[in-house]
């Protein structure tokens, strides 16, 4: 019983900040209205965040599903080198290549662009995603694919029609990690976006504390926190099993 008392006390400590923030944001409903009018408007920032997350999730799924299938089922020169190079992304601290990425995206005409930011997120997700997808395709019985090939499908049609369905759990896990990372990340958009109209939610809401003249509106700030946190909390609770599965398969970003 004392174990449950300890656990309950700890749960209160861990949940209190979230509950308080929700309560503080609702104390005055006008907090959300003011938040909606802040800067370029909440709708602009939320749209940017949704676009970046959608492009990151979509891009990560497409690239890692194709790549995972290629790595699991085909032999080609340079295969091992490419796999190692992808895993090496984990070895390189993310913060150290953002400065050159800023310059490089400038060369590509993608500075201050949501597309450029999403591509960078796809790159950071790739080691985890490719590893997950390769394992998922390798675990499929070859008969599944061979039956389709005998029926006269090309490998791409077999991939699209049959194999993708079979690896759905891995796709959900990869998509969830890609969403959480791109929706929440602060440092990459801070560096790669430089115009208020293209800010994502984390950069926009943090700027409330740093560029407001006069008093900071703390109630409004907590409503910003809630707008950022609630989609993640819901998704995490709904897809918890997939999250833990991704964890268990041992693939962790370093």
């Amino acid at each position: 019983m004392s174990r449950y008392l300890t656990l309950s006390a700890l749960a209160v400590l861990f949940l209190f900040p979230l509950v308080w923030s929700g309560w503080a944001s609702l104390e005055e409903p006008s907090n959300y209205l003011e938040m909606a009018r802040f800067g370029e408007g909440l709708d602009t920032y939320a749209t940017n965040s949704v676009l970046v997350s959608a492009m990151t999730v979509g891009g990560t799924l497409v690239v890692s599903a194709l790549g995972g299938y290629g790595f699991a089922r085909f032999d080609f020169p340079g295969k091992n080198l490419l796999f190692l190079a992808t895993l090496a992304i984990l070895m390189v601290p993310y913060a150290t290549i953002l400065i050159p990425l800023y310059v490089l995206l400038g060369y590509l005409g993608l500075q201050n662009s949501l597309v450029g930011l999403s591509l960078v997120f796809v790159m950071f997700q790739l080691p985890f995603a490719l590893f997950m997808m390769r394992n998922a395709f390798e675990a499929l019985p070859r008969e599944l694919e061979e039956a389709a090939l005998v029926d006269g499908c090309g490998t791409f049609r077999a991939f699209l029609r049959i194999l993708l369905h079979a690896v759905r759990p891995a796709l959900v896990t990869v998509g969830l990690f890609a969403f959480l990372a791109s929706w929440n990340d602060f440092f990459a958009p801070l560096i790669l976006l430089n115009d208020g109209a293209s800010f994502t939610l984390p950069v926009a809401v943090v700027s409330m504390t740093q560029h407001t003249f006069g008093a900071i509106d703390y109630g409004m700030l907590q409503s910003g926190v809630m707008v950022m946190a609630i989609p993640c909390l819901i998704l995490f609770i709904v897809l918890q099993r997939h999250y833990v599965r991704g964890f268990m398969s041992g693939a962790l970003r370093g």
């Binding site: 690239v63 290629g70 913060a95 290549i97 400065i99 790159m123 390798e138 929440n184 041992g250």
Partner: protein, 305 residues
């Protein structure tokens, strides 16, 4: 660096002997892997090369770059902000890693066994980890505010303090508050890592020890800890790397203050690039950080595994 294949045996078997009819499809294989190759080549390999080249040039935010090696590297030791930041980041990393491992291990042991209701507690401890770090920083920024936050009134009502606490007003308190934020945000994540390790220990081992008359403490020190070593190592590496690269928590929560006492190494890189417009200097700092961290990681992996 932190990948361990669960299906490695199966995976390797599939690699070793692809049936004849699967071979000779090089072009197709390349086509499937091409998007990966483009992303990795353009957005990872190219910036790695570029960061080295930038560090060898005077590279202003706007305008022409001119070769000036090794000036960017020579001026690093003369950058007082960076020297202080190195010391501060090391101190922060040491304290955070020790506390985080302790709290995460305690939580993992508490929720290790399947009992009724335990899933709720696991979720409760992990939930802060789903909140973005920037959002978490802003949450604490409000919660610890003297006028707006609930913590000061609560402490005073309980008679623990008699006046508002300067949560981010002094260097030591700013460090303490930031570490509390980090513990809240990351303890559950690290608990989950340790749980995967704890659950991999076969129950027979515990039963055998118990029937040999081992006490709880003996079981913990003689069985749990040694068998948990690889998982603990993974957690330590993630915690050390993450702390050495700390940025969000200080930028959002303390903004480096008071008096630049909580400026981390990555914050100096950021300030050099975007406040002093010196991308070459920032690139040189990045290269130093990169080499140091890759070296440290491989050293830790070799020593701890």
């Amino acid at each position: 660096m932190t990948l361990t294949a669960t299906r490695s045996s199966r995976g390797r078997a599939a690699h070793a002997a692809p049936p004849a009819r699967w071979r000779g499809r090089k072009v197709q294989g390349w086509l499937y892997a091409a998007p990966t190759a483009v992303i990795v080549g353009v957005l990872f390999v190219a910036p790695l090369v570029l960061v080295v080249w930038m560090s060898l040039n005077r590279w202003p935010l706007l305008g022409q770059a001119t070769f000036n090696a090794p000036a960017n590297y020579l001026k690093i030791t003369g950058n007082p902000l960076f020297v202080d930041a190195v010391l501060f980041t090391l101190k922060y990393t040491a304290i955070t890693t020790v506390l985080l491992s302790g709290v995460a291990l305690g939580l993992a042991l508490l929720v290790q066994e399947r009992r009724p209701g335990i899933a709720f507690f696991r979720t409760a401890f992990f939930l802060p980890g789903a909140v973005g770090f920037a959002a978490a920083g802003l949450l604490f920024y409000g919660m610890l505010n003297n006028d707006f936050g609930p913590i000061d009134p609560m402490l005073q009502a309980l008679g623990i303090t008699s006046e508002p606490v300067k949560w981010i007003g002094t260097p030591n308190m700013a460090l303490f508050s930031t570490i509390t934020l980090v513990l809240w945000r990351f303890a559950g994540f690290n608990m989950l890592i340790l749980l995967t390790g704890l659950q991999a220990i076969p129950t027979e081992v515990y039963e055998a020890a118990r029937s040999d008359g081992a006490g709880r403490w003996q079981i913990f020190t003689k069985i749990t800890l040694p068998l948990l070593r690889p998982t603990l190592a993974l957690m330590l590496i993630l915690s050390v790397t993450g702390s050495l690269l700390a940025f969000d928590q200080f930028f959002v929560f303390t903004n480096g203050g008071p008096d630049n006492s909580t400026v981390s190494m990555v914050m100096v890189v950021y300030r050099d690039a975007f406040f002093r417009f010196d991308l070459g200097g920032a690139a040189a700092l990045s290269v130093v950080l990169l080499v140091a961290l890759v070296g440290l990681n491989s050293l830790m992996m070799r020593r701890l595994r």
